[in-house]
């Protein structure tokens, strides 16, 4: 192969934060028409590198060459005018503005007096949208669109600004499989137009599907850049964490005891219907389905966050109805919700206070807090779960996703529950913490705890569960155990129902 020209290359980039070397002499290049994946554990420096490309940070050392010119990207506007576009994980759109206004945000066409040229704005946006194959118009309010469509609005910016480099940061985190396929098609189209693409993700299967080259970062340094076809998941993982992960998944070797929870014909209009299942102590039950299938809604209904329209819930073989989560928690049922940052933790509170938050009655004498007991609990679970934190008072917002998730677990484990529902327990956290959490799940089940693992990651469900239920469009449509638990069975179960309703 002849030498390919780079559209953008970074040489010897370093970036220091107080006390931390976030990037150390990093070199990275992007060729036109290629998808270059950037992988690494949380805290490896991916986001810092990405923010430098997007003009949000300035590097302390090193230089950037864009289209054969030495450049400095001082702010986001400069990045965009050069054709470098960042598509955030948490989308950067204004919900109250229209699609067209969002596409051209910051670069609206105006006349001499600053009056908007709305017609031109809408016309240009329509061109960009139709080039992307979008089925919504430029005048729609962005707040009324689904997450996948909002992402399309962001990608339409690439078209509108004639981007030559597009950076995707965890783009599939909240997409369903079909939406993911659409996204991949869009990426391939961008590729065909010679746009250089940086793809940041935790999901290895996606990276191997879409990327041409992979660069691995660890502790702020480049571990290597490889062609996708010359490598495999194990090699990449080894580069990422610096050791080999022999067992990704650990299935609990536990004794299955008596029934803990039974759900019969649970219905909630517009969300799910006729959901029936049961779980015994010591059992790990996987609930597989795509986001939007109604899995989290079922969990929240059992937990008392939502009210069921009809159906029965039996706890320890007695019929029960938790009016609010308080009663559920007191009875020994705990839910670690899907979104860690919004539902799972109070981000600006310390780790210790987050852990004891639902159980303050137990940690106080006549409403006065007993901080010694609190601290003892915190120290106990810090050790058990191997949480990396500077101390009891460190705010959880400063921790990595994996450590945050461990605090969510600690919060419920110190209540010594009988049933733990984990909704997407490893979303957005790095491989190392992931396997730690999987091992933990197995350990808990072996101690006799019943665990429900809700996940849209198939390998995870297959790896940790004794039994798997599949769910799509608000219905349970399959139950698998033992040798039946295979990828193809799960896919068939989920997609069959989709076809029937289509």
């Amino acid at each position: 192969m002849s030498e390919v020209k780079n559209v953008l290359s970074l040489h010897g980039i370093s970036k220091f934060f107080p006390g931390v070397k976030a990037l150390d002499n990093v070199s990275f290049d992007i060729r036109p028409g290629e998808v270059h994946a950037l992988v690494g554990e949380n805290g490896a420096g991916k986001s810092t590198l990405m923010k430098i490309l997007a003009g949000l940070y300035n590097p302390d050392q090193g230089n950037i060459i864009h289209q054969d010119k030495h450049v400095k990207i001082r702010n986001p506007l400069e990045a965009r005018t050069r054709g470098i576009l960042l598509i955030h994980q948490e989308l950067s759109l204004s919900p109250e503005l229209s699609v067209a206004e969002n596409i051209y945000l910051g670069a609206w066409p105006t006349n001499f007096f600053g009056v908007l040229k709305k017609r031109k704005l809408n016309k240009d946006s329509l061109i960009a949208l139709s080039a992307m194959g979008c089925d919504f118009g430029p005048k729609v309010r962005v707040g009324s669109l689904s997450i996948a469509k909002r992402q399309m609005v962001e990608i339409a910016r690439a078209q509108a600004f004639n981007a030559n480099v597009v950076i995707f940061d965890e783009p599939t985190a909240s997409l369903t499989d079909t939406e993911k396929e659409q996204l991949f098609n869009t990426i391939r189209e961008l590729k065909a137009r010679d746009v250089g693409i940086v793809y940041i993700s935790h999901k290895m299967d996606e990276i191997f599907e879409i990327a041409d080259r992979i660069t691995v970062l660890r502790d702020g340094t480049v571990q290597g850049t490889v062609h996708t076809k010359d490598t495999n998941i194990n090699l990449i993982t080894k580069m990422m964490i610096g050791r080999e992960l022999n067992t990704f998944f650990t299935r609990a070797n536990s004794e299955i005891g008596s029934e803990v929870l039974r759900v019969e014909k649970l219905c909630r209009k517009g969300e799910f219907e006729n959901v029936s299942f049961s779980i015994k102590s010591g059992e790990v039950l996987g609930l597989y389905g795509l986001i939007g299938a109604g899995r989290s809604e079922v969990a929240e209904t059992i937990f008392g966050v939502r009210k069921a329209d009809s159906g029965k819930i039996a706890w320890m073989e007695k019929e029960i109805n938790f009016p609010t989560p308080r009663q559920a928690i007191d009875m020994g049922l705990c839910l670690a919700p899907e979104s860690r940052k919004e539902q799972g933790l109070v981000l600006n509170m310390s780790g210790k206070n987050n852990v004891t938050l639902p159980h303050l009655v137990k940690y106080s004498n006549y409403t006065v807090m007993d901080w010694r007991r609190e601290l003892a609990t915190f120290e106990k679970y810090r050790e058990v779960l191997d949480i990396k934190t500077t101390g009891a008072d460190q705010e959880v917002v400063q921790l990595s996703g994996g450590n945050q998730q461990k605090f969510v677990l600690a919060k419920w484990l110190c209540n010594e529950p009988d049933l733990l529902i984990l909704d997407e327990p490893t979303r957005g956290i790095d491989v190392g913490s992931k396997s730690a959490i999987h091992a933990l799940i197995a350990g808990l089940a072996e101690q006799g705890l019943a665990v429900i693992v809700i996940s849209s990651e198939m390998p995870e469900v297959l790896g940790v569960s004794h039994r798997i239920l599949t769910m799509s469009e608000g219905r349970l449509n399959g139950e698998f155990s033992g040798m039946e638990m295979t990828e193809s069975n799960l896919i068939n179960a989920v997609s069959q129902h989709l076809e029937q309703t289509a």
Binding site: A54, L56, N75, P76, L77, E78, R80, T81, L86, H88, L91, S92, L93, S94, P95, E96, L97, E101, L105, G106, A107, W108, T110, F113, G114, V115, L116, K118, S144
Partner: protein
């Protein structure tokens, strides 16, 4: 065809609930007091509402931007004091007015710059302004009321166009202009983007800080306009002029439906909020309600109208 018209009207009312509420209030007072529904009285209500109304225009702009300005009452007092004080010290009427307007804009600029440069919350900065600027007024007036010497100054508010006083006309024109400004200029629309998602706006290359400075300057300038109109009407400059008006202004804006958190609102909503406040106050006075009862009713109205807003927004959300 008729059905779609009904549908469009109900939808508009759902998004601009305050106008439906205003309509109910007007009907109530029409039956409650024989003096209420007369051109003379309504023209009066409009004129009286203009002072808080003009403050509310600036406040709406700042709030859509995601900020708040607590110093508008104090800036109004500065402008009242300067426009009369400077005249009395020998400057011409219009020179004094211009200087008062300029000082209002400069105080707004100062507010905006401090917020943009320090990154301190606008609530805190303008709370400082509320106290400090009021102090300036006391220093300037020496604590006493200034009385205008040239009485031709107080004749301007007597200009009428049909039932509309010049004060009301200025208020309504400003509403119309700023409604257009919000919907059709780059600066106006970008204010929504910033209030809605400041990070997204910054990432898109919008100069967020410049917007803050410009909007606070406009807000100060409008407070000064309101102050000048008030000084013409009263002919005196009380150092306490416009005290707690910032609260009534915020109440009017929020009553209209503009969000305290930013990113959502309009001048037409604010107009509805301002008029509702003025109508309720006027109606209660026509019914000879004691002053303290008036306050209780006004408080209840605020909560009631916002309850209506919540009911409607939750309904429209379910429809989506």
């Amino acid at each position: 065809m008729k059905q779609t018209l009904v549908k469009i009207t109900t939808e508009w009312l759902m998004r601009n609930h305050i106008w439906a509420f205003l309509f109910l209030v007007v009907i109530f007072f029409t039956f409650a007091s024989p003096y209420f529904l007369s051109i003379n009285n309504l023209s009066n209500v409009l004129t009286q509402s203009a002072f808080i109304g003009i403050l509310a225009i600036g406040m709406t702009l700042v709030m859509i931007n995601g900020e708040i300005d607590l110093s508008v009452g104090a800036i109004l007092a500065v402008s009242v004091a300067l426009s009369i004080g400077l005249q009395n010290s020998g400057l011409g009427i219009w020179t004094s007015v211009m200087l008062a307007l300029f000082s209002g804009a400069m105080l707004g600029f100062l507010n905006g710059s401090l917020i943009a440069l320090s990154g301190i919350n606008s609530f805190i900065i303008t709370l400082g302004g509320l106290i400090g600027i009021r102090g300036l007024v006391f220093v300037y007036t020496g604590g006493d009321a200034l009385i205008v010497k040239d009485f031709s100054y107080t004749e301007y508010p007597e200009i009428y166009l049909g039932p509309f006083s010049i004060t009301a006309i200025i208020f309504l024109s400003l509403i119309a202009f700023f409604q257009w400004f919000l919907t059709s200029t780059k600066h106006g629309r970008e204010a929504y983007a910033i209030g809605d998602n400041a990070e997204a706006a910054y990432d898109a290359g919008i100069l967020v800080k410049r917007h803050v400075v410009i909007n606070f300057t406009i807000c100060g300038f409008l407070a000064a306009i309101s102050g000048i109109l008030l000084s013409m009407r009263l002919g005196t400059a009380e150092p306490q002029a416009g005290r707690i008006w910032e609260l009534w202004t915020i109440i009017a804006v929020v009553l209209g439906g503009t969000r305290l958190t930013g990113g959502y609102g309009s001048m037409l909503k604010t107009l509805g909020g301002v008029l509702t406040l003025a109508v309720v106050q006027n109606g209660l006075r026509l019914m000879n309600t004691p002053n303290y009862v008036e306050l209780i009713v006004m408080g209840a109205v605020l909560i009631l109208a916002l309850g209506l807003d919540r009911l409607f927004t939750s309904k429209t959300r379910e429809n989506v």
